[in-house]
Symmetry: C2
Subunit: 406 residues, 2 copies
C-alpha cells in the first residue's frame, strides 16, 4: 500500500503544543525521615493537539531514578527542538500520531558523538512522554504499541517476570529494617529480591546478604547490587567473598567503565554478573560486550530504557548486544517503574525490576496490582497507564494542570 | 612547618558568595551571517568575599567550545553545592584562598560513576572560574599558580607552541574563503594550522587539505580534524586516502568510543593520529590508551581541560596516560582559549590550540598579543587574564555587573 507512506499535503499534521517539566525529590526509603542524598528526578507533561475523549492527549514521562533531574537540558535544549518541529518531522506519514523515532531524531539533531551522560537522561525523559502520548493517541496500552512499531510483529508477553528492588542501607537498625523490608516484598507476592551492598565494609555486605537469603525460598532468589562503589581491590575481594553465596546475580561490581577489573572479577566469581546500568549508549554497550569479560549465556544486562536516550537508544543497545550473541532473556532493565514493564513485555526481555517501597510515587505497580508468583502484567489503560497509579498520576496531572478525577 | 596545615579555628575562612551564569551564542565563523548550528557556551562569574584593590575578587569561566551551554546543571546542581559549602571544604587550611581541589570535591559529592557527558562540562566551567579567582587572590598569573599547586615544582614555560584552529566548511566559495582564513592566520604569526574535514565527500576533504597545504611552509604544518564524523567505512577510506599527505596529524577520525575502527585506521595510516577531544574522564582515557591502537611516541591527545570536569579531572587523565607511557608532549589540549595557554605552560604540555577567528570573543589571544614564530606567551595579569582581552572581559563584566573600564 504505497499510499500509506505518502505525506498528505493538504491534511492537518498533529503537533506537540506544550512541554512542561518540574524537578521532584525522590527517596530510596519508605520512611521520609531518612536522608537519601538529595536525589531528584524530572517529570514532564507533553501536550499534543490531538483530542481524545474531548481533551488534548497528554503524554507523561520522568527521568527514571538514579541520575538526577534534567530540567535544564530539557528546557534549554531538547523541549525547544520538539516544539519547533513541524509536520512529519515528528508525526507519522498520515499526520495522525507522533512517530517516536522521528521525534527522537529531532531531539538529537546537532548533538555530537561521545559524552553519554545527562543529555541521555533528558532525552529519555521526553522520549517516555512521547511513547505515552503516541500509545494514547493510538488507543492502546504501550506494550501493544511498542510491539507494533518496534517489536518486529512479536506477540507481547501477557505477564513478565519481576523482582522487588530496594534494600538500601539503613542508618540504624540496618539488618532488622532490611529484613522487615524484604518480608514486606514477599508479602506483596514477589519471589525474587535485590538489595544494595558496597556502602560499608565487606563483612557488612556478607551479613546483609546472609540475613536476606535466610528469608527467601532459595539463596539464588537474591541479587546483590554493589552500585559501582567498589574499587579494583575491593571488587576482587568481594568476588572471592561472595562466590559461594549462590546469588541470583552480583551487580555493578566496579566502575562501569573499568572493564579490566570487571573481567578479572568474572574470572574469580562463579555466578552471574550484572552490568550496564551506568552505561548509556550503544557505543559503550559494544565496549562492555567486547572488553567486559561477560558471558552471554550467563550474565545480566541492566541498561535503563530511559537513561539510554530513551527507547530508540535502548533498541540500538539491544541490537548491538544481539550482534554480540546476547539473548533477549539477558536484559533485565533498571528503573523499577511501569514504562519498563511495557518494554519488557513488548520486546520479550528477561524480566523487570519493581521498586515497591523506594522512589515513591514512581516505584511500585498500578493500584491494586500485585505480583502472582513473581510475575506481573502491564496495565491495560492506553499509554503507559500512569493514570492507573493514583499517587503518581496526581503528580503528573498537577504538572499538566488537568483536573484530577479520583 | 606543621603549623601551616592547621586550620585556624578563630580565623575567618573565605567563601564563595555568588555565582552567576548565562548562556551565550558562539559561532565557528568570523562572518556573523553564516549559520553555525545554534552553538552556545555558558559564562560564569564567581564572586568571593576576598577583597583585592578594594573590590571582591571575581573568577570568570566558560564552557570552552563544542559541547553546548550548561546553565541548567550549573544553576540546579553544581553552583548550589559551592554556595552551600563553608570553611575548609572550599578553602585552603589558612582560610585565605580557594583550594580548587577541595572545591572540585564539593562539586562532585554524590555524583555517580559513569555518564561522563554534560556534567563534566558544567563542573569544568565552574572549575575554570575557581582557578581564575584563586590565582587572582594569590596575585599571580594562572600558569604560575598551577605550577605551584599542581605542577610538582616545575618551572612554567615562558612561551609555548601554538597553532591556529579553524577552517570550518563555508556554505559557498568554500576553498577560496578557507584559503583567505588560513592566509590571515599566517599573517598573525601562526606557522601551523588545523582545519575541519569530514562534513562532505572525501574528495572534498582532500581538496581542502591540498589547497591549504599549498599555503604553508611545509605539508606537515597542517592538521586535519574529521570531527568524529566518519563511520567505520569512511574512516578507513579516509585513512588510506590521506596517508600520503604528510599531515601534522589526523584528528577525531571516527566515533570517539569506536576504538576498533580507530585502531584499524591507525594500522593503515602512516602518520600521527589525534584523539581524546570527545572523551571526558580518566576512565575513558584509560580505555583509549588500552584499546585505541594509539602509539605514545607518535600520536596526539586532545582532551579539553574544561570538558574533563575541569583541571583536576584533566590532571587525572594526564596521570592515567603517563602511567600508560605517554609523554606530556603528546598533550595538545582542545579549546583554543587563554585557560589552555596557562595549563600548557604550567604543566609542560606539547602545545596549544588558538582559535583566532572562531568562537569570538572566546577564541584568540590577549589584546595586542601575536604569535612569534608560532609560539605564544600566557598573559601576565593575575588569574587567567581575561581582563587583557577587551571583548571577552566586557561580556564577563556585564555578567558580574562590574563597571567596565576600557
Amino acid at each position: 500500500m504505497p499510499g500509506r507512506h505518502t505525506s498528505p499535503s493538504n491534511a492537518r499534521v498533529m503537533r506537540i503544543v506544550d512541554v512542561r517539566e518540574r524537578s521532584v525529590p525522590i527517596s530510596r526509603y519508605n520512611d521520609p525521615s531518612l536522608p537519601s542524598g538529595a536525589l531528584t528526578t524530572s517529570i514532564v507533561a507533553l501536550t499534543t493537539d490531538v483530542v481524545r475523549a474531548g481533551k488534548p492527549v497528554v503524554g507523561y514521562g520522568f527521568s527514571s531514578v538514579g541520575r538526577y533531574a534534567q530540567g535544564g537540558l530539557i528546557r534549554e535544549r531538547f523541549a525547544p527542538r520538539l516544539l519547533a518541529a513541524a509536520g512529519t518531522d515528528l508525526a507519522n506519514d498520515a499526520g495522525t500520531n507522533l512517530d517516536p523515532f522521528r521525534a527522537w531524531s529531532v531531539m538529537l539533531k546537532g548533538e555530537k558523538p561521545g559524552g553519554h551522560g545527562e543529555r541521555c537522561v533528558a532525552v529519555g525523559t521526553l522520549d517516555m512522554a512521547i511513547w505515552d502520548a503516541a500509545a494514547k493517541i493510538a488507543g492502546v496500552p504501550l506494550y501493544r504499541f511498542i510491539a507494533d512499531v518496534a517489536g518486529g510483529g512479536r506477540t507481547p508477553d501477557a505477564t513478565i517476570a519481576a523482582y522487588a528492588g530496594g534494600g538500601y542501607p539503613y542508618p540504624s537498625d540496618d539488618l532488622a529494617r532490611l529484613c522487615d523490608e524484604v518480608r514486606a516484598m514477599l508479602a506483596q507476592g514477589f519471589t525474587h529480591v535485590k538489595i544494595k551492598i558496597g556502602a560499608g565494609p565487606l563483612e557488612r555486605d556478607v551479613e546483609r546478604i546472609e540475613a536476606v537469603q535466610a528469608l527467601l525460598a532459595a539463596p539464588n532468589h537474591l541479587a546483590a547490587d554493589a552500585m559501582n562503589a567498589y574499587d579494583a581491590e575491593r571488587c576482587l575481594a568481594a568476588a572471592k567473598a561472595l562466590r559461594n553465596h549462590h546469588l541470583w546475580w552480583f551487580e555493578d561490581i566496579c566502575d562501569p567503565l573499568d572493564f579490566e577489573t570487571q573481567a578479572a572479577a568474572v574470572d574469580v566469581y562463579h555466578g552471574a554478573i550484572a552490568a550496564g546500568e551506568a552505561l548509556f549508549s550503544a557505543a559503550e554497550a559494544k565496549l562492555l560486550d567486547r572488553y567486559g569479560g561477560l558471558r552471554p549465556a550467563k550474565d545480566i544486562l541492566l541498561f535503563d530504557p530511559v537513561h539510554t536516550y530513551g527507547l530508540p537508544g535502548y533498541l540500538r543497545i539491544i541490537q548491538t548486544m544481539e550482534d554480540g550473541g546476547w539473548p533477549r532473556s539477558a536484559f533485565w532493565p533498571h528503573g523499577g517503574h511501569l514504562f519498563c514493564v511495557h518494554v519488557v513485555s513488548a520486546l520479550g526481555l528477561g524480566g523487570c525490576e519493581v521498586n515497591p517501597f523506594s522512589f515513591a510515587p514512581f516505584g511500585g505497580l498500578a493500584d491494586g496490582m500485585m505480583p502472582q508468583d513473581g510475575r506481573i502484567a502491564p496495565p491495560q489503560a492506553p499509554g503507559i497507564g500512569f493514570e492507573t497509579k493514583t499517587d503518581l498520576h496526581a503528580l503528573f496531572a498537577l504538572l499538566a494542570r488537568e483536573e484530577v478525577v479520583r
